[in-house]
C-alpha cells in the first residue's frame, strides 16, 4: 500500500514538474498581449550600463532622484564592466526580454541595432522634450540615422595626452606643436630610462585609438568615411596609402621610445596606475579618466593636449580634428513602457543631471548650460574649450567599423606592435576582410 502511495505521489510530482515546464509557453496566450499597461500600474524598467565604480555612484544617485520624482516608475539598474557589457548586451538584445534602456556607443554599434530593428525611434520624444534645443547638435547627429534619432547622448568622450606638469618642468619639456615634436619628447624621456607614455593594449582598444586618429590625419576624413561605410568600390576600398602610413606612425612612436615593453600584455587599468604613480610622464587616454585622476589627487596637476598635427605632405587629412565621440542611452523597441523609458532619458540629460555628471565624475556634458566655468575642473574646461575649436571629430575606429573588420584592425595593431606583421600586411588583412563583408552585404 505504501509502495502504491509512493508511486502515485512520484507520478504526481513528475506530472506537476512537466506542467510547470510547459506553463511559461502557454501563459502569455491566456492574457491580452497587445493590451497597453494601465496608467496606475507600476512600471519597472531595466537599465543596463557599461560603467565603472565612480559612474555607478552617480547613476544610483540619479536613479534615486528620478524614482522620487516619478513614483509610478521603478528602475532596475544593472552595471557591467566594459567587456562583459558588450557580450551581455549582444545576447540580451536578441532575446525576447532585452533591457528597456541601455548604454551604447554611436557609430556602427548603434547602426547595426537600427538595421536589425532593436531600437525605438526617439525623434518624437526629442521634439516633445526639446532635446534639439538643449543638447549639442553634433552629439545628436551622431545618434541620428536616416533622419531619425535613436539615442540620447549624455556625454562626450574625447582622447587627449595627459601629462604631469611637474615632470614636464623637471625634464624641460613643453607641449608639442606637431607630431615630430611629440616623437622628440619620447626620445628625450626614453633616454632617461622611462617610457614616455603609459600604454595598455592587452584589451586592444587603446591601440585602435591611435590608429583612429592616424587614419583620419593620414588618409583624410573623406576617404575614411567612404571606406568605413564600405561605400567605396571594391578596387578602391582601403587602398589609400594613408592607412599604411597610419601604422607607420604608430611604429615611429614605438621606435622613438614612446611606449615601454610588453604593451600587449599591459591592461588599461595597469597603464592608468603607471601614469598616476608617475612611472611615465604622459598617457594618451579618454576623458573618462578625469574622475580617477581627481580621486587620486591629481586635479590641477596635469595638463592635456590633443594628438598634434602631422606636418609632412603625406598627411592628407584635416589636422584640426579631435578623436572623440558621444555615448548615450537607447531604448529597446520591445519595451512595454516606451513613454516611461523616454521620461527617464529626459531626466538623465536634464540640466541638473548633466551638472551633477560634471561635478561628480568629471564627464563632459552634452549641453552647454551644464558647464559652470567657475566650478568645473580645469581639465573639463580645457576639453570643452578645445572641442569648440576642433573642426571635426574622428569617431572611434572599432565603433564605426563593421564588427569583423574592426576585429581584424584590433588584432593587426597588436601584431604590428609585436613585430609579427608589417604595416602593409596589416592593411592588406583589413582590406581582405572589408571586401568579404562588402560582398556579403551585396548578396
Amino acid at each position: 500500500m505504501i509502495q502504491h502511495l509512493a508511486r502515485f505521489a512520484f507520478i504526481l510530482v513528475l506530472l506537476l514538474g512537466v506542467a510547470a515546464c510547459a506553463a511559461p509557453a502557454s501563459a502569455p496566450a491566456a492574457t491580452a498581449p497587445e493590451q497597453a499597461p494601465a496608467i496606475t500600474e507600476k512600471q519597472t524598467l531595466d537599465l543596463w550600463f557599461n560603467s565603472d565604480d565612480l559612474l555607478n555612484q552617480y547613476n544610483e544617485k540619479i536613479i534615486a532622484a528620478f524614482e522620487a520624482a516619478t513614483p509610478g516608475i521603478d528602475i532596475v539598474y544593472s552595471p557591467y564592466p566594459n567587456e562583459a557589457y558588450k557580450t551581455n548586451l549582444q545576447v540580451a538584445i536578441g532575446s525576447n526580454d532585452p533591457p528597456d534602456i541601455f548604454f551604447n556607443w554611436s557609430g556602427d554599434d548603434t547602426g547595426r541595432f537600427v538595421r536589425e530593428g532593436h531600437l525605438l525611434d526617439l525623434t518624437p520624444y526629442a521634439e516633445q522634450f526639446g532635446w534639439y534645443d538643449q543638447l549639442s547638435p553634433a552629439m545628436l547627429a551622431a545618434f541620428t540615422i536616416n533622419d531619425k534619432l535613436y539615442g540620447a547622448p549624455y556625454s562626450q568622450e574625447a582622447k587627449y595626452f595627459y601629462y604631469h606638469i611637474d615632470m614636464f618642468e623637471e625634464m624641460g619639456l613643453s607641449v608639442p606643436t606637431n607630431f615630430d615634436e611629440l616623437l622628440g619628447i619620447c626620445r628625450s624621456v626614453s633616454a632617461t630610462g622611462m617610457p614616455a607614455l603609459a600604454f595598455g593594449n592587452q584589451e586592444r582598444w587603446e591601440g585602435v585609438h591611435y590608429l583612429t586618429i592616424f587614419n583620419q590625419k593620414m588618409a583624410g576624413e573623406e576617404t575614411i568615411a567612404l571606406d568605413y561605410s564600405l561605400s567605396n568600390p571594391a578596387d578602391v576600398l582601403f587602398t589609400d596609402p594613408g592607412y599604411v602610413g597610419a601604422f607607420e606612425r604608430l611604429l615611429a612612436m614605438q621606435e622613438a621610445g614612446c611606449f615601454g615593453d610588453a604593451i600587449n600584455s599591459t591592461t588599461p587599468d595597469a597603464a592608468l596606475i603607471q601614469f598616476v604613480n608617475k612611472v611615465t610622464p604622459m598617457y594618451y587616454q579618454g576623458t573618462w579618466i578625469m574622475g580617477s585622476l581627481k580621486e587620486n589627487g591629481l586635479e590641477g596637476k596635469y595638463g592635456m593636449f590633443r594628438m598634434p598635427p602631422m606636418t609632412d605632405a603625406a598627411a592628407k587629412g584635416n589636422q584640426n580634428f579631435v578623436l572623440a565621440g558621444p555615448i548615450g542611452l537607447e531604448i529597446s523597441s520591445k519595451t512595454p513602457y516606451p513613454d516611461a523609458a523616454a521620461k527617464f532619458l529626459d531626466f538623465y540629460v536634464s540640466q541638473s543631471s548633466q551638472q551633477a555628471l560634471l561635478a561628480d565624475v568629471n564627464r563632459i556634458p552634452v549641453r552647454a548650460d551644464a558647464v559652470d566655468r567657475d566650478t568645473a575642473s580645469p581639465g573639463v574646461i580645457a576639453v570643452v574649450d578645445d572641442l569648440a575649436t576642433a573642426e571635426g571629430t574622428a569617431l572611434w575606429l572599432d565603433v564605426v567599423l563593421e564588427n569583423s573588420i574592426s576585429e581584424v584592425y584590433l588584432n593587426s595593431i597588436q601584431e604590428v606592435l609585436a613585430g609579427a606583421k608589417t604595416p602593409t600586411e596589416a592593411v592588406a588583412a583589413v582590406r581582405e576582410q572589408a571586401l568579404k563583408v562588402q560582398a556579403n552585404l551585396a548578396q
Binding site: 532593436h118 600587449n264 597588436q414
Partner: protein, 314 residues
Amino acid sequence: MIDSVQTHKHPSPTRGARVSARQKREWLDGYLLVTPAIVAFVLLVVYPMFSTIYLSLFDYGLTDARIRFVGLGNYIELTQDTIFWRSLRNNLTILVVSVIVQVGFGLILAALIDRGIRWGKGIARTLNFAPVVMSAVAVGILWQLIYDPTVGLANHFVRLLGLTPPSQGWLGDPNIVIYSILVVACWQYTGYVMIIILAGMQSVSQELYEAAEIDGATELRKFLHITLPSIRNVNIAVILITMIGAIKVFDLVYILTRGGPANASQVMGTYIYYNAFTVNQAGYASTISVVLLGFALALGFLQLRLSYRPREDA
C-alpha cells in the same frame, strides 16, 4: 534477481506469470525513477546538442533576424580558417603538455605523499590541492598580476635568476603566451590529479608491499611493479579527464588573454565565444561547437574502451 534465475531453471506457467508481473512492476518503478534524469538529460544535453548540429548548417547572428541555410558551407569555411587551426593546435598543445605535466607530476606527488614522506602528509596534500578549490576567475586574475610586466612576480623572479624577462611580456608575446597559460593550468590542476591518484594508491593492498619487502624489492621496484599496475584504471581515468579538460578549456584562457594577442592563444572554447558574441556569427560558432563535441565524444569513447575489462565472474 534470484527469482528470475529460478524462473529459468524451473519453468512453470503459474510461477512464471507471477514473476513476470513482478518484473513489470520493477521495470515500471525503475523507469519512473530514472524519468526525471532522462527528461533533464534530453532537455539539457540531447536537445541542445542536436539543435547545435542543426544550427551549424545556417548563417545567423544572435542579434539579427537573418538566417540563411548554408548547408556544409560553415564546415568548408572552417577548413580554410587559419584561426580555427591555430585554436585546434593550441588545444592539442595544452592536451599534450597537460597530460605529461599534470599526470606526471600528480603521480610523483601522490607517490611521495603515499609512501615517500613520513611527516607532513596532510600539509602536503592541502597545499597541493589548494589551487583546485579556487575559482578559475580568481586564479586568472591572480596570475595576471604575477605576469604583469611592471609589478609582476614572474619578471622579478626571472631577474633574480640573472635572466631577462620576455620583452613583450608573458601574456603579450605570441610565441610564449600559450605556455604561460599552461603554467597556470598545471599549477591549478596538478593537485586535483594528485588527489585522485593518491586515493587509488591508498586502496592498494598493503600485503602486496609486505610480500615484496620480504622478497627484498626496492621502493622503486615496488612502485613500478605493484603501485602502477594496481592503479592502471585510475591513471587511465585521470589521463582522459585531463585530455577532455584540455579540449574544452575556456575560463583560464578567457580571463588571462581572451585569446590574444592577435588570436595567438585562441582555443576552440574561446573561438566559439568570439564568433558567437563578438562578431555575431552564431552559425559558425555552432559549427566549431560541433567539432569540439566530436573531439569530446571521441575521448569519452576512448575512456570507455580503455577502462573496460570483462568481469571475471561473467
